[in-house]
């Protein structure tokens, strides 16, 4: 099970009311390379992986839930006090018509979240290499999001999340190396 902690992993501040940026940040909430897809991908793969890499996949999957909460916090703060007119102007009129200010798992273009965004092949090398690729794609998405805003506080939080993708990629690469390594000490029963 999981225990909820009443804290964010990293403080999230936004310095201006900018619902249009919220519209783009949704990509990392319910998009193909977003934090939900990441968390579900890893937490689902862990059941069928070799024992020595279960912990890293389990723990990164858990950290992704904390990142999902950070993205949600950004979107919540950016839209919290926006009027319907401001939301329409920001291109969120269609979102408002269906959801008001509620967050919803879809990408920046409005396509709803789908389980087909990630795989579970059951082959540990295939799964870990998908995980490395997923981290690099999320890193790239954070770069494009940073390029779209001049809000220094938002850039600060997005830069933290981008760096986490780098560290996760490093650990998945190490996990793949652990599985590639020759088994020097063969256990004979």
């Amino acid at each position: 099970m999981w225990i909820y902690e009443k804290k964010l992993q990293y403080p999230v501040r936004v310095s201006k009311c900018d619902p249009m940026m919220a519209r783009y940040l949704i990509e990392q909430y319910g998009g193909a390379d977003g934090e939900l897809a990441a968390a579900l991908r890893y937490l689902n793969q862990r059941y069928t992986l070799p024992e020595k890499v279960i912990a890293i996949v389990n723990d990164i999957g858990t950290e992704e839930l904390a990142h999902l909460e950070m993205i949600a916090t950004m979107i919540y703060k950016l839209t919290k006090d926006a009027t319907p007119d401001q939301l329409i102007e920001a291109g969120l009129g269609a979102h408002y018509a269906n959801h008001d200010k509620a967050l919803f798992f879809h990408n920046a273009a409005g396509a709803p979240f789908t389980a087909t965004y990630f795989q579970a092949k059951g082959d540990p090398i295939a799964d870990l290499y998908e995980d490395v690729a997923a981290e690099e794609k999320a890193r790239a998405t954070y770069q494009w999001l940073i390029n779209m805003t001049d809000d220094v506080d938002l850039i600060d939080s997005l830069t933290f999340l981008r760096e986490r993708e780098i560290v996760h990629s490093q650990r998945f690469r190490e996990a793949a190396e652990m599985l590639k390594a020759d088994q020097q000490t063969k256990k004979i029963f």
């Binding site: 964010l8 950290e63 652990m178």
Partner: protein, 93 residues
């Protein structure tokens, strides 16, 4: 323990200061944990991990005595009335 809406400026300041310190300490723990998942025999990283576990517990004990439980489901003691349900939630601060 006072409700968040009636915190003094001093209490607000203390909340953010302690929270920041907890976030810093727990971040080191996340990093060491992921590292140890792939480096389980690094003795000095294990010692550092245990040292930060202790530091984190001390900080959280202090925070919770001032601002209420950080954890649910039995992982924090509760004052009366049951303080877990009180704001602020993480996305509100």
């Amino acid at each position: 323990m006072t409700h968040a809406s009636s915190w003094t400026d001093e209490q607000k300041h203390k909340y953010y200061e302690l929270m920041q310190e907890i976030q810093e300490t727990d971040f080191v723990l996340v990093e060491l944990n992921l590292y140890l998942d792939t480096h389980p025999d690094d003795q000095s990283a294990i010692a550092q991990y245990n040292q930060f576990v202790q530091k984190s517990m001390t900080l959280k004990h202090h925070f919770q005595s001032m601002f209420g439980p950080l954890y649910h489901f039995g992982n924090s003691y509760s004052p009366s009335p049951f303080a877990w349900k009180e704001a602020p939630w993480p996305w509100q601060v």
